[in-house]
C-alpha cells in the first residue's frame, strides 16, 4: 500500500473511474487545460481530451443543469465547484431538479458534485464555508464528506457509480496536509456507513471531515486525564447512518457532536434529535454540540482562529460531560 495525500486519493479515484467507464466525465471552471483551481485534475486534459474534462463558462447553475441533462442521458458527470461556496448559484438546479427527478417522474440522475469546502485557509466568508447544512433536508440528495485518503478515494468511486445525485464535500485544508495508506486498484467505501476511527469508552464524539482530526487531537490530550473518547466519523451525511451512531451511544452513553458549520440547525441538531428520540434511555448526560458560532466565516487570523472549533473546545465539553 502506498501513502498518498488526500488530494492524490481524489485524483486517483477520478482517473480510475474515467478509465473504467467512458460515460464518466468532468466539467467545471478551469478544470481542463489548467487542471483545476486546486490542481485535482492536473494532467487529465492531456489524457482524456477537452470533452471529458470540460472547461465551462462561469455558470454554476448552467453547468450543474447541463450535468443533470447528461446524467439523464446515461452519462456519469462529475461537476467541480471551484469552491463549495459557489454552490449557492447552483442551489436551484440541485434541489429543484437533480434531487427530485427520480421521485417526481422516475428520472434517474447519477451525478457527483465535488465541492471543496471548509476553513483554516484564510479564505474569508466566500472561500471557507461549509454549505452541507443547506442541503441537509433535501430528500433525494446524498452527501458525503471523507476525512482521510482511504475514504476520499473509496467514497468518490462509490459516489460516481451511485445512481443518485451525490454532493461530495472535500476539505481544502486536508488536501495536502493529510496522508494515508490507500490500496492499489479498485475498492469502494459504501455510502451510508459511518466508521469508528478511534475506539473509546467514555464519550462518543460524532463528527466528519476535517473535524475528525480535531477530535483525534482532543482524544490524545484527554488520555492523560483518563477520559476516553470514541470518535465516530459519519462519512455520509445524507442519509445518516443511524445504526452506526446508536451503536456508539450504547457503548459510551455520552455524546458530543462536533462540526465546522454555524451552530444553528447544523448536522448536530439532527443527530441530537435522533439520539434523544431513539436512545434517551442510554444517555447519562446532555448531548453537547461543539461547532462554529452563528456568524459568516471571518477573515483576520484571530477571528478565524476564534471561529473554528478547536481541540480545546472539545476537551472542555468532554470534561463537562465526564462529570455526569
Amino acid at each position: 500500500m502506498a501513502e498518498v495525500t488526500y488530494l492524490e486519493a481524489i485524483k486517483q479515484a477520478l482517473d480510475e473511474e474515467m478509465t473504467r467507464d467512458n460515460n464518466v466525465f468532468i466539467l467545471g471552471e478551469d478544470v481542463g487545460y489548467y487542471g483545476g483551481a486546486f490542481r485535482v485534475t492536473e494532467g487529465f486534459y492531456e489524457k482524456y481530451g477537452q470533452w471529458r474534462v470540460l472547461d465551462t463558462p462561469l455558470s454554476e447553475s448552467g453547468f450543474t443543469g447541463a450535468a443533470i441533462g447528461a446524467a439523464l442521458m446515461g452519462m456519469r458527470p462529475v461537476v467541480e465547484m471551484q469552491f463549495a461556496d459557489f454552490i449557492s448559484c447552483a442551489f436551484d438546479q440541485i434541489v429543484s431538479v437533480a434531487a427530485k427527478n427520480n421521485y417526481r417522474w422516475g428520472g434517474k440522475t447519477p451525478m457527483v458534485i465535488r465541492a471543496p469546502f471548509g476553513g483554516f485557509v484564510h479564505g474569508g466568508a466566500f472561500h471557507s464555508a461549509c454549505p452541507e447544512t443547506w442541503f441537509f433536508n433535501v430528500p433525494g440528495l446524498k452527501m458525503v464528506a471523507p476525512s482521510d485518503p482511504y475514504d476520499a478515494k473509496g467514497l468518490l468511486k462509490a459516489a460516481i457509480r451511485d445512481d443518485d445525485p451525490v454532493i461530495y464535500f472535500e476539505h481544502k485544508f486536508l488536501y495536502r496536509r493529510i496522508k494515508g495508506e490507500v490500496p492499489e486498484g479498485d475498492y469502494l467505501v459504501p455510502l451510508g456507513k459511518a466508521k469508528v476511527v478511534r475506539e473509546g469508552k467514555d464519550i462518543s464524539v460524532i463528527t466528519y471531515s476535517a473535524m475528525v482530526h480535531t477530535a483525534l487531537e482532543a482524544a490524545q490530550a484527554l488520555e492523560g486525564e483518563g477520559i476516553s473518547l470514541e470518535i465516530v466519523d459519519l462519512r455520509t451525511l445524507l442519509p445518516l447512518d443511524k445504526e452506526g451512531i446508536y451503536a456508539s451511544v450504547r457503548k459510551t452513553n455520552r455524546v458530543i457532536i462536533l462540526y465546522e458549520t454555524p451552530r444553528t440547525g447544523g448536522v448536530g441538531a439532527e443527530v441530537a434529535a435522533l439520539i434523544s428520540e431513539e436512545m434517551f434511555g442510554h444517555l447519562d448526560g446532555p448531548i453537547l454540540r461543539v461547532s462554529a458560532p452563528d456568524t459568516p466565516v471571518p477573515y483576520s487570523p484571530p477571528f478565524e482562529e476564534f471561529y473554528l472549533p478547536k481541540a480545546e473546545d472539545v476537551i472542555k465539553a468532554a470534561r463537562k460531560l465526564a462529570a455526569y
Binding site: G62, F63, G65, L72, M73, S96, N102, G140, K142, T236
Partner: protein, 322 residues
C-alpha cells in the same frame, strides 16, 4: 418544405387532441374534480405540436407547462394524461406529481420542473452528451417569454453556443407572463434578440401556424445534427385563457383577444388543409370524431383507475436507497 399528407393530418390530429384534452381538463377543474392548478395551452397548441412532431424518435425534449402537445406527440397517451390530472396511480407519474409536471425518460420527455427555464441547461447537457458520444440526436427545449428573463436561460444559451451542441431552443411568446405584459418583461423588441448576445442564429415564426413551427424546427434540427450548433426559435402567439384556470385575466385587453381569436391555430390548419385540397371536410370530421372518442375513453379510464396508497409516498426518493 414538402410535408406529406399523412404528416399534415397527423399535425392536425395532435392539435385537436391537445385542445380537446385541455378543454376537458378545464371542465373537470371547474367541477372541482381536478385539484391544484390547471394550465392550458389553448390557442398555442401549434408550438408544442410543431416542434415535437419535427423530432426523431431517439431525440429528447425538455418541455415547459404549455407543452401538452409535445407530450402527446412523444407518445404519452391521453389515458396517462387524464389519470395524471386526477392524481391516479395510472397517471404519468403515478400520482407523485399533478397536471403537466411530468416526464417519461423512455419517451425522451424530461420532467418539467416548475422553476421556469431550469430545463434549458438540462437540455444543453443532454445535447452535450450526444456530442461527446458522437450521436446524431438532438435536444429541444421550450419555455415562455417570461422564463427567458431568468439566468438559467442565459447560461444555457451561452454554454450551448460555446460548445456548439445539438440543441434547439423554443420560446412560446404569448405576450403575458401571468399578469406581466411583454413590455415590462424585457426592453428588447423580440425575444429572439436575446439569442444574438450569444451568437446563436434565431428565427421568429408565427406560433399559430403549425406548419411554420414544424418547418422552422425541422431546419434547426437538421443544422444541429450536422454539427452546426444551436438555434433559437421565437414563436409569437397569444395566451387565450388566464394564466391558469382560476385567473380571469382581466388585465388582458378584450380587443387583443378578439384579434387573436381570428388566428386560432386549429382554424388556421383547417383552412390550410381544405383550401389546398389536402383533406376533405369528411376526413377532418373523421379525425375530430376519433379525438372525441379517445378523450372520452381516456377520461373513463382515469375515473376508474385507483388512487395510490398514502404510504407509497415514501417510495422512489432514491434510485438506490442506502
Amino acid at each position: 418544405m414538402d410535408i406529406s399528407k399523412n404528416d399534415l393530418l397527423q399535425l392536425y390530429y395532435y392539435l385537436k387532441l391537445t385542445r380537446r384534452i385541455e378543454d376537458r381538463v378545464t371542465a373537470l377543474y371547474r367541477q372541482g374534480r381536478i385539484l391544484g392548478g390547471a394550465w392550458t395551452s389553448n390557442g398555442m397548441e401549434a408550438i408544442s405540436v410543431g416542434y415535437a412532431y419535427a423530432l426523431e424518435k431517439e431525440d429528447v425534449i425538455a418541455p415547459y407547462f404549455r407543452d401538452m402537445g409535445a407530450f402527446l406527440v412523444r407518445g404519452i397517451t391521453p389515458q396517462r394524461v387524464m389519470a395524471q390530472y386526477l392524481g391516479k396511480k395510472t397517471g404519468i407519474t403515478g400520482g407523485k406529481e399533478g397536471n403537466v409536471h411530468a416526464g417519461d425518460i423512455h419517451l425522451g420527455v424530461f420532467g418539467f420542473p416548475s422553476h421556469l427555464a431550469d430545463n434549458y441547461p438540462v437540455a444543453v447537457g443532454a445535447a452535450l452528451s450526444f456530442k461527446i458520444r458522437g450521436e446524431r440526436r438532438v435536444a429541444a427545449a421550450c419555455t415562455g417569454e417570461g422564463g427567458t428573463s431568468r439566468g438559467d436561460f442565459h447560461e444555457a444559451l451561452n454554454m450551448a453556443s460555446v460548445w456548439k451542441v445539438p440543441v434547439v431552443f423554443f420560446c412560446n411568446n404569448n405576450q403575458y407572463a401571468y399578469s406581466t405584459p411583454f413590455r415590462i418583461q424585457m426592453a428588447v423588441k423580440d425575444v429572439a434578440e436575446r439569442a444574438k448576445a450569444y451568437a446563436i442564429p434565431s428565427e421568429i415564426v408565427d406560433g399559430n401556424d403549425v406548419v411554420a413551427v414544424y418547418s422552422a424546427a425541422k431546419n434547426a434540427y437538421d443544422r444541429a445534427r450536422k454539427g452546426e450548433g444551436p438555434t433559437f426559435i421565437e414563436c409569437k402567439t397569444m395566451r387565450m385563457h388566464g394564466h391558469s384556470e382560476h385567473d380571469a385575466a382581466k388585465y388582458v385587453p378584450r380587443e387583443l383577444l378578439e384579434e387573436w381569436k381570428k388566428k386560432d391555430p386549429i382554424m388556421n390548419m383547417e383552412r390550410y388543409l381544405l383550401s389546398n385540397k389536402t383533406a376533405t371536410e369528411e376526413e377532418l370530421k373523421g379525425i375530430d370524431e376519433r379525438v372525441t372518442k379517445e378523450v372520452d375513453e381516456a377520461e373513463a379510464f382515469a375515473e376508474k383507475s385507483p388512487l395510490p396508497e398514502g404510504r407509497d409516498a415514501l417510495e422512489g426518493v432514491y434510485a438506490t436507497p442506502v
